[in-house]
Symmetry: none
Subunit: 215 residues, 4 copies
DNA sequence: TATGAATGAGAATTCATTCAT
DNA sequence: GATGAATGAATTCTCATTCAT
């Protein structure tokens, strides 16, 4: 896990990167500061110059996700895809979105794994996550939906929460399947797979009234 | 977390139940055997009569999930809902399925939390999970889809993996939202919410060709 | 330092005794739990079964001094010497008192050293010490003085606080000189030395009106 | 704690002053060099330019007490009070002495606290203390006593060691009571209190042959 | 079988000391 | 000279595991 250049001491960055790697692999409690120090190539004591306690390392990772990764990586690219897409075609936009999200998730995968695990156990992390990222993404999606509804590409009755949950639910299901249970697949297969996901997001699982509905 | 009656010594069952509670709340590594013993009302040494090591407790929980909960609770009820439903209406079946799955997930929630966390970190757990539960559920769903396609209720082109992933993705998205981010909601609201999820699973997020498509 | 038999696990007593020895020799902060464990002949972890933290060991010693040693050893013998003495002679009583106090101080010397040091740095210890021992001793002395005044052996104008402070000041000065700066002396020399101390406590340092005043 | 101007680098003096403050408050082992550096307003590394090890700081404080404070502050003023007093009255001299000593002790209180604590644990400190200060003070007192005996103000039989120990014992008892257990008292009360101490030093605690003995 | 005291390896954390800048 | 980041040995404390009762 390589973090972007930040105004942060070199060693602190190394420790944070090492911590993300180690904690992502074994979970927070099962990781030791000695392991993190070793992987970061610093003395164990050095860790505690930058992070008062072990828990503060976790906090550091989280803050990083929310502040550094959250806004520019997660939300900005989300906005960009939804609004600045040249495509006037909803299906193409959704597909582009999934693709970009998939790549994003892969690129911050170790960090993601840590946050997901910890969010399961800590209310405060969930709360911050919701406040800083999830609720904002939902707002963006609502604006997007309005635009799509205006263009006649989405149904106005559709609940935006349910719709975005569906997109993300499908995406995560797809991601987990690829990452956890799937085999490494060829790029063209990936694209086909993705098409299937997009179709279901677009038209659901029921029988299509007319096959023209599909692109 | 109450486990069903099993041919298992009373103390072992108590330990397992206590372990599920404790580990679900703090994660495996952060839980201590002394805590589990205390909650189970047994001496710390007693734990090691039934489980050689702490890790074996986790294994015990997992085996329990797979063997005892997996087949009868997870798969059987899945089958029952899909095939023995009186309804000839796909939408109603999906809704019933989601409802039943939601209740099931809630009832085994502590266990679920443990397994999901551990599956994130251990390949072998993922493998067993896939073998014993996920792949079987997929097979069941395939049979169900064939039936639905035959009745003209589902599109034959739809990938069953993608379809079931969609159903589960939507369900899990819904579940997480309720459990982790949601507020406690009234039962009738829950039903409305569920309807929206079902609609999206059924018809997707795109504009409907004709509004009759919706119930 | 041997503690009296108490309803206290054998190991706890051993740890407490070892702690008193070690801490008395090096001071609290400079003593390590590993050292204490070694001297007590137990594993380091065992210490923390009986004392949650290192600081609790100190608290244990203090509680011991106040509750176990304070009342029966310090105050009771104080009372006994002052009131149950057969002697009708103030000088003899004071001498007996000094002798007995000296022996007592020697017998709990390691504990004393710890408490004195810690009392210098911790207000709460001083407070408890005052409440539980010093103020009580002062009360006892006041009663004693009343008796002596009634018998015409002490001046009624003398401030009991100043008087007892003088007795203890002289005693401690004597004790410190013997223990810290003195050489080991013969028993008869000790007695002579003590006599000089008693004289000064009794009659002060000024020229005596008549030499009969002295024994 | 302000040290007098010395031919000593500014930083070294600052470090020494800071060290006295910090160590006096928490004890030597419990104080950290980082704390001392912070309070002195220098970098931690700077400390080790002036003091090879942490222990050398303590040594520095001690040397300071003995060489700089010991002779001029402790012994000279002792001499001055005893011999250059205008008063021909022993009682008045003792009272003046106690007053002056009390003020002196207060002024070097932090340093005193350190030395007393450390003297309890280190033979070598006690030895130097005795050699450089205590034995000298005793010599001075002996000369004083001779003078007083010549004037008929003190008994020739009185042991000078016992007498000076009494004076100091009473003083220290008084000091401790005021500093550690006492409440803040008014100046006039302080003087009354002091009178009582002086009386006891002068005439002891026994009944006075005639009340004229007291001033 | 059940207990829980005892263990000791290993964890997080502290801090005097060094050294490149 | 002065700095303060970096170190790593030492310290406190935790906890899975053992074992005598």
């Amino acid at each position: 896990m390589q973090l972007p250049d930040l105004k942060m001491p070199d060693k602190e960055k190394k420790i944070l990167e090492a911590a993300i790697t180690v904690i992502s692999e074994k979970g927070f409690s099962a990781s030791t500061t000695s392991e993190i120090a070793q992987m970061a190539g610093v003395a164990e004591g050095t860790i505690f110059r930058y992070f008062k306690t072990k828990k503060d390392i976790l906090r550091g990772i989280f803050i990083h996700l929310v502040n550094i990764v959250g806004e520019p990586l997660i939300l900005d690219s989300f906005k960009k895809i939804l609004f600045h897409s040249d495509q006037k075609d909803l299906r193409a936009i959704i597909k582009a979105l999934l693709k970009e999200r998939f790549v994003l998730m892969e690129s911050i995968y170790p960090m993601l794994r840590i946050i997901v695990t910890e969010a399961m156990y800590h209310e405060d992390i969930r709360k911050t996550l919701h406040e800083k990222i999830i609720s904002k993404a939902l707002e963006i999606f609502k604006l997007f939906q309005e635009e799509m509804v205006a263009k006649g590409l989405m149904d106005k009755d559709i609940d935006p929460l349910a719709a975005s949950r569906s997109i993300y639910g499908n995406l995560v299901g797809f991601f987990i399947y690829q990452k956890f249970f799937g085999f490494v697949i060829k790029l063209e297969d990936f694209d086909k797979d993705l098409d299937r996901v997009v179709d279901i997001i677009m038209y659901g699982i029921s029988a299509r009234q007319n096959s023209d509905a599909r692109q």
